[in-house]
């Protein structure tokens, strides 16, 4: 059941690099990460690649497989044609460190800028009373495994280094949406998301939603509602006067 498979892997570092071809043995039921490991163990001992869980749960093994942003551990070989060469390149939106490993510190910088969850005055100390339908919206966004595939694919920063200082990216828009929809959070981050984190740059192309391995509806459930809320607070004095609503209270 094993067969030979040709891999084309980008090898190099910040100073440049090139594709290298490796022929490795593949088995039925395997995923791309398996054959990358096979190459590493047999013909390319120093091939740099990140991975941890091999189960689609940690978001470490992101790369572009035949040009498409994917988790290597969740990409089965059976989706390719028999005999097809599989081309693997590092995430394009982030600077290469070596081979398939990129410098994703941009995302950790952005994470530091998020104003933390802050409970309301009504329920300042856990245990909080919160109901399932009210936590569910935020729970969808907390499924995020921080694979950065959405960040990689978003055209605002893909090939547009100059936009990075102004744009946090879809992963962080769902984080802000999550906090905004948290039934017991008290901060208003809308102006901040719009002015400091670049929500306005997003023109809702939904490319981020397409690549999310957790199937989070980034655009429909987070970005669009956030944009509406931003507009409401900015221009609608009535919404402003009534205050925003954060789920039903007990």
């Amino acid at each position: 059941m094993s067969y030979d498979l040709t891999l084309r892997i980008w090898r190099g570092d910040a100073n440049g690099g090139d594709f290298r071809e490796y022929v490795v043995q593949a088995e039925e039921g395997q995923v791309v990460l398996d054959v990358v490991h096979r190459a590493q163990a047999t013909v390319a001992n120093d091939l740099a690649v990140r991975w941890n869980c091999k189960a689609g749960k940690c978001g470490s093994c992101s790369a572009e497989v035949n040009g498409y942003p994917r988790l290597m551990c969740m990409t089965r070989l059976s989706i390719f044609q028999p005999g097809e060469t599989i081309t693997i390149t590092p995430l394009r939106t982030f600077p290469v460190i070596r081979d398939l490993v990129t410098d994703v510190s941009f995302n950790y910088e952005r994470a530091r800028q998020v104003p933390a969850f802050t409970p309301t005055a009504e329920q300042p100390r856990a245990p909080f009373t919160m109901f399932q339908p009210d936590v569910e919206r935020s729970q969808e966004f907390r499924k995020c495994i921080e694979c950065w595939l959405c960040q990689d694919t978003c055209h605002v920063i893909r090939d547009h280094e100059e936009n990075k200082p102004a744009f946090a990216g879809p992963r962080f828009f769902i984080r802000y949406a999550e906090l905004d929809m948290h039934p017991n959070d008290s901060l208003d981050r809308k102006k901040f998301v719009q002015d400091e984190q670049g929500l306005g740059y997003c023109n809702i192309t939904k490319c981020c939603t397409d690549v999310c391995p957790e199937h989070i509806k980034i655009t429909d459930n987070a970005i669009i509602p956030m944009k509406e809320r931003v507009v409401d607070t900015k221009y609608d004095p009535i919404v402003r006067f009534l205050g925003r609503r954060k789920g039903t209270k007990a």
Partner: protein, 608 residues
């Protein structure tokens, strides 16, 4: 060469090694106690093995069953551990877990809710009441995010993709650690009077394991080399349900929640075989017929289904069924929830299991049974620590989470791991900070000669001579050895064979050679990890040979029953030699298990 290299230097009060649940919680605690704190992780932040935890956090919140309380949790934990737990750790754990769970909620975690708007709790093996706070089946991710976001927003210094190779000492005391950046291969010296080990597990020494590459037992090995002791390393938990097919994902965990939520085990004859494997010790609390077992999910006045016996019992039963020729096509048994719950229920309660089987095995778990078998999952043994402070025998060295021993005795209950991380992570961080503060001006100093010796050791694989060994090949040999000779069922001859093999691998590991340079070089990283894996494997085999009985996660063919004598003994290991070309030698000691005070001992008597 290290001689010419100027090392990056950092000064802290507390250095925490490992950023899973325990490390993050320890770092937050140390920071909040006013210590200058560094958090070191081998991966990017938020990728640690804790994200793989699925089921939940065991804590007697009493949200669904007001009868639940810390005493019942304490009793369940001790009985699950076959009474070999350190009673004081089990007590602190049961008492403090609820508060630690609420703290996560305070920091933004969003657990699933009860109809009354409280944190919902789910059933798990060995727990008398539905006790596990959870979020679907991705509770570990929720825990790590809540802690990570807390750590980041409090401004703790995080060193990502940095691996610690050695602890540094000044006399008897810890003085710091040497590490290298995975990215550049350059060394970093940490000077710190207190170090918290929170490095997790050891599963990567076995072939079939649920553990990620990070679980190489680094903390266990660092502790031994620094002069600390390891406790009860023979107890290794084989989780009963790992995937068996396709081969590519063999070992990957299938959460116990499948059984907690109604899933049952069947053999090739479609029989619910667990009723044949109810041990005497659990007879009084386990249902012996299908009707009662099935009533239990709704009404806890019935006895528990045998599928929810502690993990060691279930893993052994599965192993026996497979050996008897009643296994599934790919060498496991069947785990069936499809015939017992609606597709909607399964998708809502077990979304990531649904996803995992669909995407990796083409199996729809709402329609067909899963094929599963035991997988190496968790080390009950670990660094010997003080139960209250998590201090090891080496002044300034602390350990929390899986790397620490004692809490879980001979077998850990599901759900008690995540709670262990936050209860003892917090304690370790606080006591480490207090220790550092208490030193005043008497702080230990890192010694330059130790630093360059440790750096030279780490670079050895680049300058290897003629007899070259490939780290990947050596790792594979080790995994096969441990899988075949120190697995679920053990016996003296095989373990002696394993020890010989490990000794020869240790010799060969001195000639490991790697190609390429120091920048993000996985071959080199593995060569360094192997050192630790070999030492930890030797510890497990040595302790397993010593304990001549079967108990929890340690089953001996040649000593098939529990033995009251061994029920009062801990097996303690210390490193006695690892210098130059000589063999690595461990001293083995039997040490009396501390006895619980009468009021706690009384809780253990009552069987129901």
């Amino acid at each position: 060469m290290p001689a010419e290299e100027t090392f990056e230097h950092h000064d802290y009060d507390v250095v925490v090694i490992g950023a899973g649940g325990a490390g993050l919680r320890a770092a937050v605690a140390a920071h909040e106690s006013g210590a200058r704190t560094a958090l070191i992780c081998r991966s990017l932040l938020g990728k640690a093995h804790t994200v793989m935890a699925e089921g939940g956090i065991a804590a007697a919140l009493g949200n669904l069953w007001p009868e639940d309380n810390w005493q019942v949790h304490f009793r369940d934990t001790m009985r699950g551990g076959k009474l070999l737990n350190h009673w004081r750790m089990a007590e602190l754990h049961a008492k403090e877990a609820p508060e630690r769970v609420y703290e996560l909620e305070q920091w933004g975690a969003l657990f699933d809710r009860t109809p009354a708007g409280k944190i919902s709790q789910r059933d798990f093996g060995g727990h008398r009441y539905a006790r596990l706070a959870h979020v679907g089946d991705r509770t570990g991710l929720e825990m790590i995010r809540a802690l990570q976001q807390r750590a980041v927003s409090s401004g703790i210094d995080v060193f990502m993709e940095l691996t610690v190779t050695d602890l540094l000492k000044d006399g008897d005391r810890v003085a710091g650690a040497l590490a290298y950046w995975r990215e550049s291969g350059r060394f970093v010296v940490f000077q710190a009077p207190a170090v918290v080990l929170a490095t997790g597990g050891i599963g990567k020494s076995w072939k079939v394991t649920s553990n990620s590459w990070e679980c190489t037992g680094d903390g266990h090995a660092l502790a031994l080399r620094a002069g600390a002791t390891l406790l009860n390393m023979e107890f290794v938990q084989f989780h009963p349900t790992g995937m068996v097919w396709p081969l590519s994902v063999r070992g990957l965990l299938v959460t116990e929640s499948v059984r907690g939520d109604g899933g049952v085990l069947r053999n090739s004859e479609n029989k619910r075989f667990m009723f044949d494997y109810i041990p005497e010790f659990f007879k009084a609390e386990t249902a012996d017929n299908i009707e009662e077992a099935d009533r239990w999910y709704e009404d806890k006045h019935n006895r528990r289904p045998p599928e929810l016996l502690p993990r060691d019992e279930v893993a052994r039963a599965i192993n026996a069924e497979i050996k008897a020729g009643r296994g599934s096509p790919h060498g496991g048994v069947f785990l069936d929830i499809a015939s017992r719950r609606t597709p909607e229920f399964i998708q809502r309660r077990l979304p990531s299991m649904y996803h995992q089987f669909k995407e990796l095995a083409d199996v729809d778990i709402t329609k067909e049974p899963m094929e599963i078998g035991p997988t190496c999952h968790y080390a009950m043994g670990g660094v010997e620590v003080d139960p209250d402070t998590q201090a090891s025998l080496v002044p300034g060295l602390y350990a929390a989470g899986e790397v620490a021993g004692g809490m879980h005795g001979a077998n850990r209950l599901g759900g008690n791991s995540l709670s262990d991380l936050i209860v003892f992570g917090k304690r370790a961080g606080e006591y480490a900070a207090a220790y550092a503060k208490g030193l005043g001006a008497q702080r230990p100093r890192v010694n330059a000669a130790d630093v360059s010796r440790a750096a030279e050791d780490a670079l050895a694989p680049f300058g290897a001579g003629t007899a070259q060994e490939n780290p990947y090949a050596l790792h594979q040999e080790l995994q096969e050895t441990m899988q075949d000779l120190v697995g679920i069922i053990r016996e003296e001859g095989e373990m002696r064979q394993a020890l010989e093999k490990i000794a020869s691998l240790q010799q060969r590991a001195r000639n490991l050679s790697v190609e390429g340079n120091r920048s993000f070089n996985p071959g080199w990283h593995l060569a360094l990890d192997l050192r630790n894996m070999l030492l930890v494997s030797q510890s497990v085999a040595t302790a397993a040979l010593e304990r001549q009985e079967s108990r929890g996660g340690h089953t001996r063919n040649d000593y098939p029953t529990t033995d009251p004598f061994w029920g009062k003994q801990n097996v303690v290991l210390a490193l006695t030699g690892e210098a130059g070309q000589g063999p690595t030698t461990l001293a083995v000691k039997r040490q009396a298990l501390p006895e619980p005070p009468p009021e706690l001992a009384a809780l253990l008597e009552d069987a129901h």
